[in-house]
């Protein structure tokens, strides 16, 4: 009897786990002793870090997209369908088209998505760059922006926690390059007492924003948006008028978790922060944005978690070895600090990050990573 590994989700975490396992178990996968299946609602993968560049008209959308089937290792089966319900007792997943897929081990990698209805007025009054469609709409708005008040407001929870800082500094650079910075006010709002949740990034942003004349509003949690009057209201009672509002909408997990009785509120899966097991289940794992682990929802986290999980799955699939590899909270994030400079942060559960001095070489390294990401996804790096 073959062993069945089923992975729900065709984003970064899902593809990496599938490819890492399939590459380590080439023989058994080729002989169908081990079946690796990816069940994904989308048959196209989109490189989300590229949305920032699309918004500033630096990249074309086509460079961000690839067919999922072209990104999978040989032997991995792709089922293009939506998972509707996980039956943990029966070890099966039913799909929108009525298929039932059995599994011995299940990996949930369904990511996170924008919750555009949580904040009244957000859809009508705000722009965002966290979807490709949103980035394209923002690109058009920026093309016709000739000065005024740009407000960047951060909702929680959200993925890629440094992206709001990146957008703000890139916008500042972009406005200077266009010669409209003097007639542009930039305001950045953030939910806690400082401009970023990480102390070192907050200190860095504080210094940079102050030097660039960017206003910071702290303790600001978006409550509602008056799209007609162009005013943003906070839960804390502050009102901020805007001409162009770029919001980081709150995120939520896929509804599959709630439909299956496995996820907590917000549709995040209760996940062991080291072994990535879901709840008390020995054969169900969650990876990437969809977990409730107190770590950034970011591609690099999905990547490092996937490496740990794949090693554990290889042991389970081959000889039932108990998982011995632990995720340690590792994360690495580039931070674009303008159109030509960047820095980065690297940290784990035991080591907080520091922020190196931004440089052009780090920016070029980031640009290089943007192009080699595809090899990383395929697990050939």
């Amino acid at each position: 009897m073959s062993k069945k590994l089923l992975i729900i989700g065709s984003g970064t975490a899902g593809l990496m786990v599938a490819n890492l396992v399939a590459r380590q178990l080439r023989g058994p996968v080729a002989h169908r002793d081990i079946e690796v299946t990816v069940l994904g609602e989308r048959d196209e993968y989109v490189y989300q870090p590229g949305f920032l560049y699309v918004a500033f008209d630096l990249w074309e959308p086509d460079s961000l997209r690839r067919k999922v089937a072209d990104l999978l290792s040989p032997g991995v089966r792709f089922v293009h369908d939506r998972a509707e319900r996980i039956d943990a007792a029966a070890q099966s997943v039913t799909t929108r088209t009525g298929q039932t897929l059995q599994y011995d081990y299940l990996v949930i990698a369904t990511g996170s998505q924008l919750n555009l209805t949580e904040i009244p007025g957000l859809e009508e009054g705000a722009h965002w760059f966290y979807t490709l469609e949103g980035a394209l709409r923002l690109r058009e708005a920026l093309k016709s922006f000739e000065g005024g008040r740009l407000v960047l407001s951060v909702g929680i929870p959200h993925k890629c926690p440094v992206a709001p800082v990146e957008f703000t500094m890139m916008f500042d650079d972009w406005a200077r390059a266009r010669g409209i910075r003097e007639k542009t006010e930039i305001t950045y709002t953030y939910p806690v007492a400082r401009p970023h949740t990480i102390a070192s990034v907050a200190d860095f942003a504080d210094r940079e924003f102050t030097a660039r004349g960017i206003e910071i509003e702290t303790f600001f949690n978006m409550d509602s948006i008056d799209a007609q009057g162009k005013v943003l209201h906070s839960q804390e009672g502050t009102d901020v008028p805007y001409d162009l509002l770029v919001a980081i909408p709150p995120h939520m997990g896929d509804t599959l978790g709630a439909a299956s009785g496995l996820a907590e509120k917000g549709n995040w899966y209760p996940t062991d922060r080291n072994l990535l097991r879901v709840g008390a289940y020995k054969n169900i794992f969650a990876v990437g944005d969809t977990t409730n682990i107190p770590v950034s929802k970011a591609g690099s986290v999905a990547h490092f978690e996937s490496e740990v999980l794949a090693d554990n799955l290889v042991g389970l699939l081959t000889d039932g070895r108990e998982p011995g590899h632990a995720y340690t909270g590792r994360a690495f994030c580039f931070i674009e600090t303008g159109l030509e400079q960047a820095t980065y942060i690297s940290f784990d559960f035991a080591h907080p990050p520091t922020v190196p001095t931004p440089s052009r070489s780090i920016h070029l390294f980031k640009q290089t990573y943007n192009r080699i990401h595809w090899a990383n996804l395929k697990a050939v790096m």
Binding site: I156, V192, I198, F219, E264, G266, P294, V295, F349, A350
Partner: protein, 78 residues
């Protein structure tokens, strides 16, 4: 009287999003009357979380110190 938390979040070692963000996120998702406990080993949480609770109009229930870190309890009141 020791308050029972409706939900406890182990945010020890969380630098991003961090214990305060975990608290804000959990309070947002909680029902009115629920008590959320965040376990943190970041010394800043002892002041950050109470400051946020005051600003946001939520009730700080307790700040308890233990060997494994601080436990900060907030009740959702609105």
């Amino acid at each position: 009287m020791v308050e029972e938390a409706s939900r406890t979040i182990d945010a020890r070692g969380s630098f991003c999003p961090g214990p305060l963000m975990e608290m804000i996120r959990a309070i947002k998702a909680a029902e009115i009357g629920d008590v959320v406990a965040v376990l943190s080993n970041d010394s800043g949480s002892r002041t950050d979380i109470p400051k946020w609770a005051q600003k946001a109009g939520q009730e700080l229930v307790a700040v308890q110190s233990g060997e494994e870190g601080d436990s900060i309890l907030v009740r959702k009141v609105k």
